[in-house]
């Protein structure tokens, strides 16, 4: 009926969930547990300034306590004037932003999309999956009505704010914003967002490596990968190798092993 909200209903009854439950049961019989989804453990931040929007993200993807990717891209392209940062499960953030092809089709008949359109499509999709797509997004861009910044959370709620942070490092980053944010015209906003991401990288274990920067203005987009490297790996202070001759050699015996060639075969590698 047309009074239905398109939620996914009783999620536990859908095929993938039942299959996963069966697999989990079989694996735990053998003593293993199924692999956990890789989360990005992120700090992403966005801020609206006088001429447009700045989006910044760290580049570390973690798999529990191991850094899975030291330089992953968290700022995704959606439209020429709209970019989106994703936090949460890495695969889910990627999938959500593959709607850029939908947006391209939409813009063929409707022109450059306004930010609200993109936000609404993202929010509808996430709500339909009732939080099982584990990605929280910051959508920022410049459209005909100006520069805007929206947040969309994994269950499908959204909010429009002049500055936003998300991810595991959001707490550290938002504290910088809350303390020092002033009106949009001010120049120190660029430094503010740099400091916010740096706070996330230093104060959160799940964020780190480089910082990506994306500045979107009416004139165009500047996407700078590896813009900043706040945490430099230190140089080793001492020598950890032993000099040859440290251990005295008392006796030396050489025994040649007589080996015969039994079989010889050549396999060419396809190097095209």
């Amino acid at each position: 009926s047309n009074t239905e909200i398109h939620g996914c209903g009783n999620q536990e009854n859908t095929f993938p969930c039942r299959r996963n439950a069966v697999l989990e049961g079989k694996l735990s019989e053998l003593g293993y547990s199924s692999p956990k989804a890789r989360k990005t453990g992120t700090t992403i931040a966005g801020i609206v300034f006088k001429d447009g929007v700045i989006l910044r993200a760290d580049t570390r993807a973690t798999d529990d306590m191991v850094v899975a990717d030291k330089n992953c891209m968290k700022i995704h392209y959606i439209a020429p004037n709209i970019y989106c940062c994703g936090a949460g499960v890495a695969a889910d953030a990627e999938v959500t932003t593959q709607m850029s092809s939908n947006v391209e089709l939409h813009s063929l008949s409707r022109g450059c999309p306004p930010l609200v359109t993109v936000t609404r499509q993202l929010k509808r999709m996430l709500f339909r999956y009732q939080g099982h797509i584990g990605s929280s997004l910051i959508v920022g861009g410049v459209d005909v009505t100006g520069a805007h910044l929206y947040s969309v959370y994994l269950h499908g709620s959204y909010d429009k704010l002049p500055f936003l942070t998300m991810g595991s490092g959001a707490g550290a980053a938002i504290s910088i914003f809350e303390d020092r944010y002033r009106q949009p015209g001010s120049e120190m906003l660029k430094k503010l967002v740099r400091d916010a991401i740096a706070a996330g990288i230093f104060c959160d274990l799940g964020s780190g490596s480089n910082v990506d920067l994306c500045v979107i203005t009416q004139a165009g987009v500047q996407y700078l990968r590896g813009y900043d490297q706040p945490a430099q790996k230190g140089k080793k202070e001492g020598q950890y190798k032993y000099k040859p001759g440290t251990t005295a050699v008392l006796t030396k015996t050489v025994t040649p092993l007589p080996l015969d060639i039994v079989d010889e075969s050549i396999q060419l590698m396809d190097t095209q």
Binding site: E4, F127, Y153, H155
Partner: protein, 188 residues
């Protein structure tokens, strides 16, 4: 008159202190939301569309009861999936000002005043004691402000700024009271 605070949290992290919980579903009808923000936003978006369509078909502004019914239908028919409650309030030509509450499972009740949300449990006593029928606008504002301030004082997941909206035949008036301007009570 309707009043809300504007804090939303995700487990122990306050995700926003400036979220809008007073959604205007029509010119003279507002809706306060409580519960899951995602569910409430989805429901009010659908309700806003249905109410506006209904008012075009009827060629007149919708009745507050109609708006509340739309929300009730959405809540009741999807009660397994949704976790959101609403207070619908507004003015219409037939019955004047009205307040309806749509609870979690889809119950619709008309009441002279109502409170809702996690912080409401702390002010049931206050509301029952202090409510009088036929209050003036200033008395009503004071009642709502005090109630919100008391609830925000005791409920850890309510807070921020208090938003009040006064809906009359003439129009809609927004009143915003920042946290530090709220009335202070014992021990604050």
């Amino acid at each position: 008159m309707v009043g809300v605070e504007d804090l939303v949290h995700f487990r122990y992290y306050v995700s926003s202190k400036t979220i809008n919980k007073l959604i205007q579903v029509h010119d003279r009808i507002f809706c306060c939301i409580a519960g899951s923000l995602a569910d409430a936003q989805a429901v009010t978006k659908a309700a806003k569309f249905q109410i506006s369509f209904h008012s075009i078909q009827m060629e007149s502004p919708p009745l507050v009861k109609a708006a509340a019914s739309v929300l009730k239908e959405l809540c009741y028919n999807n009660k397994e999936e949704l976790q959101a409650g609403f207070i619908t309030a507004g003015w219409d030509r037939k019955k004047g000002p009205q307040v309806y509450t749509v609870a979690l499972g889809g119950m619709l009740l008309s009441q002279p005043f109502t409170i809702g949300g996690s912080g409401s449990t702390y002010i049931y006593g206050y509301a029952d004691a202090k409510y009088k029928p036929d209050m003036s606008k200033e008395e009503c504002l004071q009642f709502a402000t005090n109630a919100l301030a008391l609830a925000m004082g005791r409920d850890n997941v309510s807070g921020g700024v208090a938003h009040l909206v006064v809906i009359t035949e003439e129009g809609v008036e927004h009143i915003v009271i920042p946290g530090d301007k709220l009335p202070k009570f014992h021990d604050e």
